[in-house]
Amino acid sequence: MITMTNTKQLFSDTLNRLPVSIEVDHLKKQFRNCVVLDDINLRVEPGEIFVLMGPSGSGKSVFLDLLAGLSKPSSGRLSINQEDLQYVKKTKKYVMGLVFQSGALFNSMTIFDNLALYLREHRLFDEREIQSRVTQMLDMLTLKGIAQIMPSELSGGMRKRVALARGLLMEPDVLLFDEPTSELDPITAASIIELIGYVNKQLHITTLIVSHDVLLAQTIGHHIALLKNGFIREIYTPQALQQSSEPFVCNFLNPTINLNHPRFLPPTS
């Protein structure tokens, strides 16, 4: 599906850098009296794919917002390569690419302008080089011919690929994904999983994915954490997760369907 013919040229900066690690220590986030994340501790090893799973409303997206620097933790510490995230954001030392659930493409701009925005605004290259990089990136992700169309004309899968392209063009140290396979059919979802796995294999960018897609976690995740009620109990490898006998994990991976007693209805006497 993707061709990495020009990877070395396009990602020269990324390939020349060492992958970074992410450390989370005693992280807590609360909104007024509601504790959303409580005492989160984890470490994402350099170059690995870490998947944070959990039921809807468990605080996964809040965690991603904290890591992306979009909100501040109530307490605890987030760091990259042992350097505090606030310092990292201020000095712009590390680049973080966040691929949003909806893609978050700029609807008033063409796909080309969406992809070129970061490079143009930070004045990283001249206009000819930007043109060349964006075109190469679109070719690489088999998105040829869409440069001049608007994001509203794209399908869900294409939007996610364009969002990934935008993230990759930043040559990030950390790639963050928010539900990359949500709202997609199984085949398109599989192609996105392949793409993330392939990019990680080629570029060794430290990747953190927030998702409740079990297939994604087990196929490309190096480590998987399960978030329940704002708390991480354990961090698993894909094999350990599969073999876990913990009721919450078993129920999350293979939920039982009981049509006679739906779980959100009060038990009948």
Binding site: K92, F100, F106, Y118
Partner: protein, 247 residues
């Protein structure tokens, strides 16, 4: 409490916009685009309304002055001063709020709701530099032109009425002579100063409310309504104080 938070954010946005002005040359394209949008959206409606506003003013005043012999010769000065000192800037500000302010809030609100603003932040790009500053600069640049256009069309509307209504017994030359006699550069400058203050307030309020929008499409609608209400209240209150200082 919410209102205080909003105004605190508006002041914060004002200072951030001032800080981002050093990037103005690099954002010139975006500023020019905003000028075009504002001019294109507002110019026709400003023209129509101002023409009728001047006409109505001449009609009402002309009728009242017709009872006082010779008083109608002041009609030109009344329409002239009212339009350039008060009605021109005020009407243009109201129309800018309705046409441009609401569009700014809707656009920035939708960008906030659909995470486009967050996407800018994760790219280390300042939403104020890319979204707010060009709109403020566009508003400040276009408002004087719109106000002058409104004022001149208001005068023209008054003149048309003097030529076409029976109970106003002055000819065109008296109307224009009276207007020229009382409308001086200072009056026009006072009107333009007001217009610039209004433009700053409208663009900042609409941008602030747009960026604070959270939720879904319904909240975007609510934000647009909030922009209209807040801007109009602010314009009228400021108008009173600025007029008091200038008189």
């Amino acid at each position: 409490m919410k209102l205080l938070q909003l105004w605190a954010f508006i002041f914060q946005l004002f200072f951030e916009t001032c800080r981002e002005l050093r990037y103005l040359p690099r954002q010139a394209g975006r500023c020019f685009e905003q000028c075009c949008i504002m001019g294109y959206q507002t110019l026709p409606i400003v023209g129509i309304l101002s023409l009728f506003m001047g006409g109505i003013l001449a009609l009402q005043t002309g009728y009242s002055l017709s009872k006082l012999p010779g008083a109608q010769s002041f009609l030109g000065s009344i329409v002239g001063l009212s339009m350039c000192r008060e009605l021109g800037p005020l009407m243009t500000a109201f129309l800018l709020t309705g046409r441009v302010g609401s569009a700014i809030t809707a656009e920035l609100g939708s960008m906030s709701v659909y995470k486009e603003v967050d996407a800018l932040r994760t790219m280390n790009l300042s939403p104020v530099r890319l979204l707010v500053m060009p709109r403020v600069v566009g508003g400040l640049f276009m408002m004087p032109f719109l106000t002058i256009f409104s004022t001149v069309l208001g005068w023209l509307g008054g003149w048309i009425v003097t030529q076409s209504v029976d109970f106003i017994s002055i000819n065109g030359s008296i109307y224009w002579r009276s207007l020229k006699q009382y409308v001086d550069v200072e009056s026009i400058n006072d009107g333009l100063l007001k217009a610039e203050i209004f433009a700053l307030v409208i663009t900042l309020i609409s941008s602030a409310i747009g960026l604070q929008t959270k939720g879904g499409p319904r909240e975007i609608g609510n934000s647009v309504t909030r922009t209209l209400v807040q801007s109009m209240i602010a314009i009228l209150m400021l108008d009173y104080f600025v007029t008091k200082v200038l008189l």
